[in-house]
Amino acid sequence: MTDDRFVIAGREFKSRLWVGTGKYKSFAETQKAIEASGADVVTVAVRRVNITDRSKENLLDYIDPKKYTILPNTAGCYTVEDAVRYSRLARAAGVSDLVKLEVIGDEKTLFPDTAGLIEAAKILIKEGFIVLPYTNDDPVVAKKLVDIGCPAVMPLAAPIGSGLGIRNPYNLKILMESVTVPVIVDAGVGTASDAALAMEYGADAVLMNTAIAGARDPIAMAEAMKYAVWAGRLAYKAGRIPKKLYATASSPIEGML
């Protein structure tokens, strides 16, 4: 699988599993889980520095930005204004124009506000950002995001952190067939088979956080996800057999007594 790379806005990615860095017990655990996952893209959030805590451990002391592509997100932003503000802050704090754009529309489901997402993406693309939008599993919205210049789309499989797996595989498949840019299934994965399924449907990559960080053994789950994504990708490339209602014998009749 080493030569199975994909490209977003001229950047080459070799791992088809991307991981978040939230919800771990410690930075050391975060580091170990990311290593076990084999991911080369990790998402981070942008927040106030704690000015009273002098211990000052920094996440990036554990995740080497030379080794990983750091993908800042706009998690927690409910307005276009906030999402744009956090994107600009992320760019000022970091080294690249990449942003995983989230404009959240509902606090119970954390579903994206797709109208706000498109509006924020337009502003940021004009400012030179490489916008990877966290969107709904809506093919029409995905097409609009691509039309305004998003070099990839990140549709959800299910609500963030829900672990429900792919709730609408048909929409997701239609979405994948509707756009020509890479599709990274983001959010909702619960276990390895969910990740494998996303890849079997034709996703270019899967992004997850809670499924790994929230597992009883995050490091083992990270490894499971690595293999699941590989298996799913291989199966997609190999081409699955069609589903049929009735049996087809796999042993020949000839030579039977």
């Binding site: 939230g22 930075f27 981070v44 520095v49 704690n50 000015i51 002098r54 998690a75 409910y78």
Partner: protein
Amino acid sequence: MGEAIRIQVNGETRDWCGGVTVADLLRELEIATDRVAVEVNLEILDRAQFAEHRLRDGDRVEILSFIGGGASGIGHGGVDGRLACTNRRNCQSRAASSAIF
């Protein structure tokens, strides 16, 4: 050094000497200048401006960096790490996810 000034740093009120720069502030707080973004009165500064930009009485300074995060969840920074929303109407606390089945 000029007269005493009162500024807000990440939401906390702090008294400083007039004439201090953003770089002075970061040094005093023991915050490395790489990997942080600094916003003064909603204006984001380039890193190159840190040493020149002098703080004035009433300035609101935000110092941010990367923390653990996936999607809309919050990592080590906790909710306290969030900036004050520019639109207060949307500043509602996150509902706890509930196990349903």
